[in-house]
Symmetry: D2
């Protein structure tokens, strides 16, 4: 449900236009220094800032620490972080209530929760919740120390040059999708727990909780399906497990092999497109033309890298704890 992780476990809550969104981080070892400043860079990256194609709502996104810190260090007790929702214009959404927006969770949420769901801005399904993931990711990254998690855009709208892909979207007056790649260096050999908690299993589990993700592939990924065995196999070159190539993307048999961890995710185009669409109306019972109000990101993929880093860091921290690479006391 809304919790994830075994020894390092997060519980997420909140809605786009409710009181707040937040996260409770359980299992953080005591003694980790945590200041407001640690959180700001990643929170800023998530906003997309002045980046073309992102138009975040104007939220301060200041983390409010409700538990688990003492003298600006973790105490070993759960750390709860809340972000208040201030810049919400719910009235816009009350009007749109009659139409389940295509690509959004409106229809399924309504069916699942019998109409009691907070539908404003996607409610609990909103990308707004990723701000909480990013905050938890900051803690995880600090625990990872020399292990570096880096995600970046590799493709927008089919173009390797993101600016080009974005330009296409602007010209088409439409939203557009993209590819984000994540690389992790410095991992020890041996992370991942057979049979069901392989590195790929846990990472994909976490990754698909990020809204708009439609696919994930490790190493060579889908291209591996077209390859011969001799091409794909990575010859091991030394006692530390260094391989000549890295088609495996750093994971063999579900376990890290000491080479760089590499995986990519596909992000669909923002469901809220500026173009007119048509969809069923609960009010009229007919399929009707429909336009999304307000400003929205043309390309949600642009804001995904820091979120992807966060969930990756959460998973790796948990796996490192299970393998006892992270000690209880910092």
């Amino acid at each position: 449900m809304n919790s994830f992780g075994q020894l390092f476990r997060v519980t997420i809550f909140g809605e786009s236009h409710g009181e707040s969104v937040g996260i409770c981080v359980d299992g953080c070892p005591a003694g980790l220094p945590l200041n407001l400043e640690d959180f700001l860079p990643d929170l800023e990256r998530r906003k997309g800032g002045t980046q073309k194609g992102t138009t975040p709502r104007k939220e301060d996104d200041l983390p409010i620490f409700k538990s688990g810190l003492f003298h600006q260090k973790s105490t070993g007790a759960p750390i709860t972080i809340i972000f208040e929702n201030n810049n919400t214009r719910s009235a816009d959404y009350e009007k749109q209530r009659s139409v389940p927006r295509p690509g959004h969770a409106d229809f399924v949420a309504h069916a699942k929760y019998g109409g009691f769901e907070d539908f404003r801005g996607g409610g609990h399904f909103s990308g707004r919740l990723t701000v909480a993931l990013v905050a938890a990711g900051v803690i995880a990254k600090k625990l990872l120390k020399d292990i570096r998690v880096t995600a970046s855009i590799t493709e927008i709208g089919g173009e390797a040059d993101p600016e080009k892909g974005l330009q296409k979207a602007i010209e088409a007056k439409d939203s557009v999708g993209g590819i984000v790649e994540c690389r992790v260096s410095g991992l020890p050999v041996g992370l991942g727990e057979p049979f069901f908690d392989s590195v790929e299993s846990l990472l994909s589990h976490a990754v698909f909780s990020i809204p708009a993700v439609r696919g994930i592939e490790f190493g060579t990924g889908f291209a591996a399906a077209k390859m011969f065995g001799l091409q794909h196999n990575d010859a091991i070159e030394d006692a530390a497990g260094k391989t000549r190539t890295n088609h495996a993307g750093g994971v063999v048999g579900g376990i890290t092999n000491g080479n760089e961890l590499v995986f990519r995710i596909a992000v669909k185009p923002t469901s809220s497109t500026p173009r007119e669409q048509s969809t069923y109306s609960w009010e009229s019972g007919l399929v009707e033309p429909f336009s999304v109000k307000g400003r929205h990101d043309l390309c949600i993929a642009l804001r995904v890298p820091v979120v992807l880093e966060a969930v990756t860091a959460l998973v790796l921290t948990d796996l490192l704890m299970r393998e006892q690479h992270i000690k209880r006391v910092y």
Copy 2:
């Protein structure tokens, strides 16, 4: 670790060349009729039989029921099923011990378990364990009743015609990868549990426990990253949620929307290729030429569909139970 599922939970165990492989299925409602005959068709499909490109070892693969059945019906207690390993030639593997085979888990298992792992034939990492998944899948499929889970090969070695792809491998005297697609019809709207237990999260978690899987995509998947929003959005056409197109593959916001569930996985080429490779030797400390002994599947993807159906059925059964669509008493 070796358990998966919340209300319908499996625990898998065993090794390729140990005593047995098996699975314990917990949470099956009482009263489900289960006969040996229910298991044979899927177990046979997994063997690959006379299919070109698969050369399974000669195992009977007869499930032995150790608990949970009474008068050939489930009792509500855990159902344990064991498959004995008879056709094992461990001597072959003792010889190969000095070389961590490229693409296999030999190297990571050795590092993780300090040399105490059962290395014969991949041990606990072996594809042999999928026979236990298939058995559990048979139980899940019976619980799913009118919900149909069907997986099939859509591509081998880059060819839409599997025979052609396989022929390429035979000519190249090499192994080859493939794509398997899974479709599920008859699902109700509303399966999947925010925030972390989305349908994609749970399916991908289970799917990546199948050896050799390197990627997964839902609906349009990676192609969605190249699309515009208007193209990708599925217009809703009626009160039941039927959509004009199905780019979402039946899942929106992590929740089933009542349309066909569609996803694809990438399977890498069999790591044991007939071609000579080179790899590091623990014995000599050098990179040396290396050849795999014995007969192996040219294309492991050919045996994956029934395994993919099994893990898909496990996940969906669990989600249906969480949503109370499957009652306790059959």
Copy 3:
């Protein structure tokens, strides 16, 4: 760790003298009406109010709803409730830092968290956190509808009349322990999940998270150890499972049998006694006389009943959901 429950799951956080204490309730079905007024009676009961022997700190104990409610009804998303800590005088505790108080968690917390724990007023180990349990219990009780959970004091300081026991403590200028009994009527037959999730297992698990609890017994409990079989066995009298006696306390084989659920817990005397004690000092390295500052409850057992009801309601709600007695939509 700080989460408990399977389908109805709570995550607790906070410290006695930190920002706040709170709880996140996951799995509450959508559509449950929840108003501030629903919470006040139980929160008031926990304070002990004007009761002799309890001297709660002056907190408003007003629940602040941070997520999961919309139009004063549950939405199906996690409900987060926070209580702010206003009436804290941490300075008192800074002084006492050099002495691990007997009976308190000071010593073990220091060892476990390397000195980084928030030690003020017991920190995360404080009875203060039970205010959050009570709030979650209010939600659970509403879901239980006609199932009535009632806990009451049956003994203080060895006296069946609580007033007498309390009077003894006042005269002795010492704190004192007590017994609390919980009774639940209206339960269906069949709750509890073999082998490890028996009703007694889950209730005792939850109950021992309440600070100061030292024992639990079901039905006749410890007295059963002195009985003969014929005496103890409850003869079944009708098809509904009504028994002539109820030595089993409503649970047989770990499963509810439809009779009243009855269990008792032992609560130790408040560790903070007005009497002078002696204990080891980290500062001097010597055993020294020691007195607790401030006002404390003479008998913490007096405030336990409503907390016991709360954890009991949490467990039963979860078990009812597992058996599908509570539907998703209210």
Copy 4:
């Protein structure tokens, strides 16, 4: 359900008169030597042997290892151990089907599983399953090394001298209950995970899965409810946390404090008493006289100590792993 533990996790299965009972132990570090001889002493203790008052059925109770061992050492993969049921006389039970035996799970199992349960000899609810717990306990005890877990009878039928209590039962031609005490020496300070996974919470959870247990108390336990604070508090005497008295039984704030862990459990009289009882008959719809067939233990408590040691060892191993006192490689 039928799994317990986080990092060291067991899954139990089987029925009294089915094919077998067994257990799957997941999370055992690789490299632990395990021979048949390691298991025999505890398995023998559980049988009760020639002890007056126990009349176990004649089973060899030989563990059959189905997975997880290689060259008589653990491999890191799950260890599955099975005990076959040979000495079963099911015909006896088919006759008794019409009567839900008082004190047994017959009635609740029938209600819960709709009549599909394996009712023979208690089926999945039978004390027979404790043989599997004992086997898992042997593994846990080996991992605990210098930490000694010892349980013993302290009272039978209200008599401190077990022989006396048993004699009373023999004279009364009735079954009788008893008290078992468990002591653990050598534990480090700091085991137990706030808020919900206190040492008492996890131990009681596990302990109440043992059939016939009706109560548990730690340290002074229920007697603490009659004490004053000054009496009950254990004065700390040195930097290691040694206390003058041990009323806490080695657990303060849910965390081990380095002193001996002490707790007691109440075991009810064997439900199958030689005396004639009366109970409802499903067949006649009337309350009728009823006699238990066959030979049964007069005092089931006599066989509990080794089972109590086993579940205690399981819990402590898991907690030690969470605190990283047990390393992955032996």
